[in-house]
Symmetry: C2
Subunit: 195 residues, 2 copies
């Protein structure tokens, strides 16, 4: 499958997941790790959290006789919300996952204005909203509550800065240890922070 | 825009919404009414509830130079969850909307097994899940809590029946009055039932 940014998914990485050789976290994308984690949560009746489908603007569809409708022209649309949401222990969960190859900072260009507005609204209405940020070079994934993002976002809007330093995320965020099944066990962090 | 069932959206109906002539509910689809209602909830800071994008299986994408990626082969996938979810007064909200032209019953074939499993799981984890059912011929829309759906679903699984009689939905469900802005004010029902 291809992605909007023109990158192809590395099929050798997906294959690794199936052979069970990916015992270390290295080599799988954050999205793949989150999907595996969410499947584990669902199958173990821990939580119901899904990735939303990619929004597509459908322009042309063909309806061949005796077979499925085929979309022959469509475009990727920018998401107006976050990618993941669901319910855990009665709470609404809503988050965005971002991976960076940067070693010193997390560029805020990774988050869109309307996504931040959405996360703010979710928190206002009593939901739990956060970022999962992976620094790919260090193979570290952090839980970063959206409330801690707001001051940096204000700095971005006022032109003061365009990123959050790695050290800030390390200090103010919560590193998520890697497990084999619960690869990115972000609910463990939620248990500590919100219950 | 075309839909998986091969129906084209009636553009004259969408146009009506913009001219403000659609003062009666008649003439707009349930989906359009829900979208308008959800926009009102969002703009009025009442709740954050969105329709999920239609899941698409992307097969081929072209990347023309200097212009946006074009999906040239894609297929509609069956949704594994419900169409709408979000957060209201701290509660996770999760529902499916279905319209029928039937005057005497709501056919359960409108709901897929995995959607019912999903709604069951949402309730188990403390979310609020329900159906919005419109009987188009009567122009009536009902809020039907998913807990009341379960016995009829069991009857369906055991081969006893394939639908819920209209009278049952009228008696056990909650009719949603039509308003101009909050066209389908389902949160008013939630206020009464869950708070």
């Amino acid at each position: 499958m291809n992605y909007p940014n023109g990158k192809k998914q590395d099929s050798s990485r997906s294959a690794m997941a199936n052979t069970g050789k990916a015992f270390s976290n290295r080599g799988m994308s954050l999205e793949e790790d989150i999907n595996i984690t969410n499947s584990f949560y669902l199958d173990s009746a821990i939580a119901v959290i899904h990735k939303k489908p990619t929004p597509i603007q459908i322009v042309k569809v063909n309806y061949p006789k005796r077979s499925a409708a085929v979309i022959t022209e469509g475009y990727f649309k920018q998401a107006s919300t976050t990618d993941y949401n669901g319910v855990y222990r009665g709470k609404h969960i809503d988050f965005e996952a971002k991976e960076t190859k940067n070693k010193t900072r997390f560029p805020l260009a990774n988050i869109h204005d309307h996504q931040l507005n959405h996360m703010q609204a979710v928190v206002k209405h009593g939901g739990i909203s956060f970022l999962l940020i992976r620094f790919a070079q260090f193979n570290e994934t952090y839980f970063f509550p959206v409330e801690k993002l707001f001051p940096y976002w204000d700095d971005k809007l006022s032109g003061k800065r365009k990123s959050i330093p790695y050290q800030i995320i390390k200090n103010e965020g919560y590193v998520i240890p890697f497990h084999y099944q619960k690869r990115i066990d972000y609910l463990a962090i939620i248990d500590k922070l919100y219950f």
